[in-house]
């Protein structure tokens, strides 16, 4: 379970002054559900998810993840979370198995439990063929599987995915989508950010639309269709976002 309340993040930029990357965002993501955070580039999705994963600290507000406050107990929150994004790369000089083992140990797993869990994961994700291959020698698909095994090694009840299919080919993206569904089916709380409407339609039980750091609307697909009088999610998205939309600045 994730309960975000008044979550905000401000940054200071020399040229632009204070930037409200996330502005008073509140929502609830429940176990056995996929909560989709839908937004354009620069809308505040990544910053929100980084705060939930305690990689960034909120400026205001907080979130409770599996009963732990992200501000007060960030390490306990991280132990309950599996975080996957296209930015979470692998250590190139470790093998696939060493990579997953490392994160198992950092999550406090003992060696016997870790070994059992590794065998189970490597079988389930069909990774045995390349378990001893260095990560810099893996294909994109193999790397994604290793990343998935890395996030799952400690069997976290909460999964956070930040645009996990961005830049991936169709087959690899499809395997990620299936994996996200599997997490929901196993009763995990899943939060997932994307700017791809079809992905959101296929996957999400609840969708929240974010723009300029503000959560503008949320609900099930049916609720959103009824509320905004549009059938197509893309049309709903444009209708909601258009008043606040600004072209993201080049970094």
């Amino acid at each position: 379970m994730i309960q975000a309340s008044g979550l905000s993040k401000r940054f200071h930029d020399k040229k632009r002054g204070e930037i409200r990357a996330v502005d008073n965002v509140s929502f609830v993501a429940k176990p056995g559900q996929i909560y989709g955070l839908l937004g354009a580039n620069g809308a505040g999705k990544t910053t929100t998810l980084r705060m939930l994963a305690t990689i960034l600290e909120p400026t205001d507000g907080t979130a409770i993840v599996q009963g732990y406050d992200v501000v007060e107990s960030p390490e306990k929150v991280r132990a309950e979370v599996g975080f996957l994004s296209t930015a979470t790369a692998l250590y190139p000089r470790l093998t696939s198995q060493e990579m997953v083992e490392y994160f198992g140990r950092l999550n406090g797993m003992d060696e016997a439990t870790l070994k059992k869990r590794l065998d189970e994961l490597f079988d389930r994700l069909e990774m045995n063929e390349f378990r001893d291959r260095r990560c810099d020698k893996l294909s994109t698909g193999m790397k994604q599987k290793t990343s998935i095994a890395r996030t799952l090694v400690h069997d976290p009840p909460v999964m956070i995915f930040d645009e996990p299919t961005s830049g991936l080919d169709v087959m690899t993206a499809r395997s990620i989508i299936n994996f996200i569904r599997e997490c929901r089916d196993r009763g995990k709380t899943v939060i997932f950010s994307t700017h791809i409407m079809t992905e959101a339609e296929k996957l999400c039980d609840v969708v929240g639309i974010i723009q300029s750091g503000k959560l503008l609307t949320e609900g099930t697909l049916a609720q959103l269709r009824e509320k905004h009088g549009e059938e197509d999610l893309e049309e709903i998205f444009v209708k909601v976002v258009a008043p606040l939309y600004v072209e993201p600045e080049a970094k």
Binding site: E75, R78, Y91, L106
Partner: protein, 402 residues
């Protein structure tokens, strides 16, 4: 502080470092092979060139002297030179390095000597050029001997004893132990320089790789999403940087010790150890003392390197910050080779204090009061630097700088 977590990070970083060609080359290959090759091998090469130059018999042109067979005979008797008459373009030949020197004998030299008139002989050389300087030295020796004989003959002609020319002699004698004086002092400073330089250089690549390198590769966000506390993470990384810094310094001292011992055993006098023939060696006790003093210095360097490198966004950016720091580090290390003595004030100057102390330790001098001051002060500087490195690593604005 969870030692378990720090240990997990350290072991993982060590495993990656041992698989990283750049770290292995910088921390193992260079200290083991390159520095002995440079110091011993280069010394041998220079010695060989000098010996060959001394043994060679270059042609030396002489202007004049046709009316002075006495001085000409003296010049011709100079060992390992061939005297020939000067060509009209002798100056060009010297400048073009076709001949090393030309000697000019003034007209009527022998007659003027007999008349006890003051004369001047010129040696035209290519200043700083090895062959030219060597030939000039040989001719200078020869002419000095000739001059001394002229003076001696004059004294004898006056029926005075020859001893009148040399009423007393001055003899310098070294009373300090051979292993603590002369070239040994320079050798001690050189070892200190190598240790300080390699302590810094050895840790530089890992410090960048584990911070800015991780940001660039995208693994920083991966590790920050794990439950490990950032302080544990940075301490694990710091220990790896410290390990490479210390192993680089230790390996270099050991390899240099072995190199010098080998050179000595083979009696290859490739190192210009001074006229007294100082044995260049590092005793086990001295090596151990230097290593112990290098520990807080390596902690200081590793912490500063981590702190600066973690601020950078990319490997290259970190390099632009850290590479110029080598000069800040080696200037006090080079100063240790100068005749500077340790004082209470200098014992508080970071880097210079350890460099000066290491110089003393290598030659077997133990000033326990300075050792205490230097060890304590360096530990204090190192603690502050490590504290700042940990704090820096916990700042979002540093880790996610854009």
């Amino acid at each position: 502080m969870s030692l378990r977590n720090v240990g997990i990070v350290y072991r993982k970083e060590l495993r990656e470092a041992l698989r990283d060609r750049r770290t292995v080359v910088a921390s193992v290959v260079i200290p083991l092979f390159l520095f002995p090759l440079l110091s011993v091998g280069f010394g041998a090469l220079v010695s060989d060139i000098v010996n060959k130059t001394e043994e060679a018999s270059p042609k030396v042109m002489v202007i004049g002297g046709d009316d002075s067979p006495g001085v000409l005979a003296a010049l011709k008797a100079t060992p390992k030179v061939e005297i020939v008459s000067a060509a009209p373009n002798w100056k060009d030949l010297v400048v073009e390095k076709d001949i090393p020197i030309t000697v000019e004998i003034p007209p009527g030299f022998d007659k003027n000597i007999a008349d006890q008139k003051k004369l001047e002989v010129f040696i035209y050389k290519y200043s700083g050029e090895l062959k030219s300087e060597s030939a000039a030295g040989k001719l200078n020796d020869s002419l000095r001997t000739y001059r001394e004989n002229v003076v001696k003959n004059r004294v004898v002609a006056q029926k005075l004893p020859v001893e009148v020319l040399d009423p007393f002699q001055v003899t310098q004698k070294n009373v300090a132990p051979a292993e603590k004086s002369g070239a040994a002092l320079f050798f001690g400073g050189f070892i200190a320089y190598i240790v300080v330089f390699l302590c810094f250089n050895g840790g530089m690549h890992p410090a960048i790789d584990l911070t800015a390198g991780e940001k660039e590769r995208g693994t920083m966000e991966t590790i920050l999403s794990s439950p490990i506390a950032r302080s544990h993470l940075v301490v694990g990384k710091f220990l790896l940087v410290l390990t490479t810094a210390l192993s680089t310094a230790a390996l270099s001292v050991v390899s240099m010790g072995i190199s010098f011992a080998l050179v000595h055993a083979l009696q290859a006098k490739t190192i210009q150890a001074g006229k007294e023939g100082i044995e260049m060696h590092i005793g086990l006790g001295a090596a151990l003392s230097v290593f112990i003093m290098a520990i807080p210095l390596a902690v200081l360097f590793s912490s500063i390197q981590l702190m600066i490198a973690s601020f950078a966004k990319t490997y290259k950016e970190a390099q632009t910050y850290l590479v110029p720091m080598i000069f800040i580090v080696i200037i006090p290390a080079i100063a240790a080779m100068l005749p500077i003595d340790l004082t209470a004030k200098l014992a508080l100057v970071p880097i210079l204090n350890v460099s000066l102390l290491c110089k003393e330790l290598v030659i077997g001098t133990y000033h326990w009061n300075y050792i205490a001051i230097i060890f304590t002060s360096t530990c204090a500087y190192a603690s502050v630097a490590l504290f700042l490195a940990v704090k820096m690593f916990q700042r979002e604005s540093v880790l996610f700088r854009s």
